[in-house]
């Protein structure tokens, strides 16, 4: 028996979310009196794989096959299901990101395992297995009971804290049975975002709305992001009007994020916008309209003109940073 985690690597390195997943899995494994096993697909050095032991993994199933260099939903699901069967996994855990959403449902059908997506906390009960998920785009939580023998969870990034341990970890190479015929999609071109902090990875996000007035006004917002090591985001109308690039759009129909700190600058706080950001741990709103709905979602607010306040805010942060040093 085991709890299995799929950890994704980026150019051979694991992101923080991988360690969160292993920490989370290990808490479940303890409750089920079993151990945490990881399946990694791709070319990852042994030293990097070993890092997963630091969060509770005891065994890493290392699948390094040239054919699996880029994500192919169908073969990936096949491989992960094979490993789950081999390791007698009772719970399989994925990140609630593009890859997890692409692969977990396929594994669910292969293993006939009930799937709960968009989870942000540990199961509330193990018999029957019950876990809470986000529903209605952040407006509610649903407690879901899973009736199948094997369970699958996709966990939101940044929702579970890292728990360090120092397990000895065994790395086991695994040769999978996949044929060329299993690959019915072909990646022709990869455009990786480089040198830029990814919105979905960022712990702090600085976001602008229509209240920023024009695309020329983004300088101070970018400066704030720079000062805080934050990523930049925007509301939907801002990306629709092409003031900012589409990959910055957050909300119900854009990216769903849950940073530690979210700045809503000149954003009214429409329900569809909040759907994408309301899981942020802290929200700061700056808006000229004291009745803007964003203040109901925010923890800290200033009623005022963002053009005037942003430079002052940047100056105050610089001052604070200098005082720290």
């Amino acid at each position: 028996m085991s709890v299995l985690v799929y950890t994704e690597n980026w150019d051979g390195k694991f992101k923080k979310v991988s360690f969160e997943l292993v920490s989370y899995a290990n808490e479940i494994a303890k409750k089920l009196n079993t151990e945490t096993v990881v399946v990694s697909i791709g070319d990852v050095a042994k030293d990097e794989l070993k890092k997963l032991g630091g969060y509770g993994a005891v065994k890493i199933i290392n699948v390094n096959d040239e054919k699996l260099k880029t994500l192919a939903n169908q073969p990936y699901a096949k491989v992960i299901s094979q490993v789950a069967e081999k390791e007698d996994a009772k719970v399989v855990i994925f990140a609630h990101n593009n890859t997890g959403k692409a692969v977990a449902p396929r594994v669910s059908v292969k293993l006939k395992a009930g799937l709960v997506t968009g989870v942000a906390s540990l199961p509330s009960n193990y018999d029957p297995f019950t876990v809470s998920k986000k529903a209605f785009t952040g407006k509610a939580f649903a407690n879901v009971k899973v009736n199948s023998d094997v369970k699958i969870i996709t966990l939101f990034q940044n929702s579970f804290k890292l728990i360090e341990t120092d397990n000895k970890v065994n790395i086991e190479d695994f040769n999978v049975e996949i044929a060329d015929g299993d690959f019915k999609t072909k990646v022709e071109q990869v455009n990786k975002v480089t040198g830029k902090l990814l919105l979905t990875d960022a712990e702090i996000v600085v976001s602008g709305g229509r209240g920023m007035k024009s695309p020329e006004n983004w300088g101070p917002l970018e400066e704030l992001a720079e000062l805080l090591g934050a990523a930049t985001a925007c509301s939907r109308p801002v990306s629709d009007e092409e003031w900012r690039s589409h990959d910055e759009h957050v909300g119900q129909t854009g990216k769903i994020i849950a940073p530690n700190l979210y700045f809503a600058l000149g954003i009214s706080g429409a329900i569809q916008h909040l759907g994408g950001v309301s899981s942020s741990k802290h929200i700061v709103a700056i808006n000229t309209d004291k009745d803007a709905p964003i203040f109901e979602a925010a923890d800290y607010g200033i009623v005022g003109d963002v053009q005037k306040i942003l430079p002052e805010l940047n100056a105050a942060i610089k001052e604070m940073k200098e005082a720290e040093n």
Binding site: P105, A113, T137, T185
Partner: protein, 247 residues
């Protein structure tokens, strides 16, 4: 080529969410129902492809698993421009059950479109499950779908960039932002024509339900927002640094 668009009937995105029966069921009183926004964009893209690809696309069908009360939403999809519709007559109990139902219908189509998530229970599950039931390839987080000389070209988002793929047919595309610019709005003529288009009702097949909603909760009420005077921006920095400890 035939395209199937799977549509989910969901509460309007501005709906105030309430529960009833001791928080075990979603209270539908006064709720406006709509086509799930992603599915509406998927349908829009299907229609654009049909219009621009010559004869390549013979037919666009929409399908929904749901009770009779889902029919106005299905009719709206016909008014937007689907050629015909299928309603699979069953309560959509969980994603596994729904995907198993859809698979029966979907096997007759070359391109099957799903949304990345339904805005009711945010499953992000049905499209992927359906592709596995069918044993078709799937591409998720699709932001572009094109047909060039009979070849399918899709762009998808990965966590840190985009990729362009080609795929064999049949296949399942799970679509997100970018797939179409704006959803199409039904014209008067479209609404008139929709009344005459076929809406076939299909019996559900036996299928398992693996998960159940036990109960619901609203998020805990948020503490009131702490207001900082616009003349005292420093105080905000101080609060973020010393109280929230986030910068």
């Amino acid at each position: 080529m035939k395209i199937l668009v799977c549509i989910s009937n969901v509460p309007d995105t501005t709906t105030k969410i309430r529960f009833k029966d001791d928080n075990t069921a979603f209270d539908t009183t006064g709720v406006q129902w709509i086509i799930n926004p992603w599915d509406e964009l998927a349908l829009t893209r299907a229609i654009e492809l049909k219009e621009t690809s010559g004869e390549a696309i013979e037919k666009i069908t929409v399908v929904s698993v749901g009770p009779k009360t889902a029919e106005p939403t299905i009719r709206k999809a016909l008014a937007i421009g689907a050629d015909d519709a299928i309603r699979i007559d069953a309560e959509p109990k969980d994603a596994y059950f729904v995907a198993a139902q859809l698979a029966v219908v979907a096997k007759d189509y070359d391109i099957v479109l799903n949304g990345i998530e339904a805005c009711d229970y945010n499953g992000s599950a049905v499209g992927g499950m359906l592709s596995e039931f069918l044993e078709y390839p799937s591409v998720s987080a699709v932001s572009k779908l094109e047909i060039e000389n009979g070849e399918i070209k899709v762009s998808r988002e990965i966590d840190g960039g985009t990729e362009v793929l080609t795929t064999q047919l049949p296949f399942v595309a799970i679509v997100q932002k970018g797939i179409a610019k704006e959803p199409r709005i039904p014209s008067m003529r479209g609404i008139m024509m929709a009344r005459k288009k076929p809406l076939n009702i299909v019996e559900a097949v036996e299928a398992e339900v693996l998960t159940e909603f036990e109960s619901f909760e609203l998020p805990p009420a948020k503490a009131a927002c702490k207001m900082v005077d616009a003349e005292n921006v420093k105080e905000l920095v101080d609060l973020l640094h010393n109280e929230a400890k986030v910068i």
